[in-house]
Amino acid sequence: MKRDAIIPGITLIIAIILLSIFPDRQEAVITTSWDFFIEMILILPAVMILMGLFSVFVPKEMVVKYLGKAAGIKAVFLGILMGSLPTGPLYVAFPMASALLKKGAKISCIIAFLSAWACIKIPQEMVELQFLGPRFMAARLVLTIIFVVIMGILIERLIEWSDKKQTNLRR
């Protein structure tokens, strides 16, 4: 808690010093910060509530169970779908991905899941919509899904290929 206050405190002090040296910039800086603050504070509680609801109603075990037995190209899309539902930073998803690996889930599915978790989560997309507009958000969403599918399949092939080469060498 203490550490949480130090860095914002330092940032604030730097800002105050800068603004007292350059008083002509005060208005621009304060207006900009204030506008962004208002925009943020109007959506943040809603985003947090959605994230809280997802985390309680869609437990991790359920996600792992569903993805563990998915197969084929359907697994990749299911991975993207499941990845976009829950929430939290990406490193929370690594243990889940590890559990999926042990369960024998498809690598393409795990990659799709991790990538969707990283950059197209639903609450996150809403913040993107708010700040960058519908065209930007929609274009990035569609492109990301396309490339994540390609990446998932590519990594799966690469890992299978290198595993095969290793077993051949051992023979």
Binding site: D4, I7, P8, T11, L12, A15, L18, R25, A28, V29, T32, W34, F36, M40, L42, I43, L44, P45, A46, V47, M48, I49, L50, G52, L53, S55, V56, F57, L90, Y91, F94, P95, A97, S98, L101, I107, I111, L114, A118, C119, P123, Q124, M126, E128, Q130, F131, L132, R135, F136, A139, R140, L143, T144, F147, V148, M151, L154, L158, I159, S162
Partner: protein, 159 residues
């Protein structure tokens, strides 16, 4: 109707629906929400002050020189690396991206920045290697870097 209103109505609707379905779980969800709100608040404040200083002090011509249209591929590469190394919550990357876009950054660099920031974590790479193995972790981060740049370039062309 604007995005803020839609988002708030949607969240409120979900909350009511959840409350009808399961009261205890909904209360639990609200506790999680409150905790994460206060957890993210300091970072939000830092980024907001940073955005104010950035737009107030750095002239637009300078921003667009580094990450704008004329910066070319070198600019895109710089943003991509910056996104890969920085470790800030993805939610907060959007106001930052919006402020850069407003002050002369190109659509390509902003899209690349968001994508590498969210998909690639140099800071969390050791953890990822531990959980998923070297091969998979390095392939995922490496290929994500390439597709981030491709996504950015395509977005620059279509938007």
């Amino acid at each position: 109707m604007n995005t803020t209103a839609i988002l708030n109505i949607f969240a409120f609707g979900c909350l009511i629906f959840a409350f009808i379905k399961d009261r205890t779980k909904t209360k639990q969800a609200l506790t999680v929400a409150l905790k994460s709100f206060f957890h993210i608040l300091p970072t939000v404040l830092i980024i907001i002050i940073f955005i104010g200083l950035l737009l107030g002090f750095v002239p637009q011509s300078q921003i667009s020189e580094v990450v704008g249209e004329q910066a070319g591929f070198r600019g895109v590469l710089i943003v991509a690396l910056l996104g890969a190394f920085l470790h800030i919550p993805s939610l907060i990357s959007f106001p930052l991206a919006a402020s850069l876009l407003k002050s002369g950054a190109s659509v390509t660099s902003v899209a690349v920045f968001i994508t590498t920031l969210t998909m690639i974590g140099v800071v969390t790479l050791p953890l990822e290697i531990k959980e998923l193995g070297k091969k998979m972790a390095l392939l995922r981060n490496g290929i994500s870097f390439v597709i981030a740049i491709i996504i950015g370039i395509v977005m620059g062309v279509i938007l």
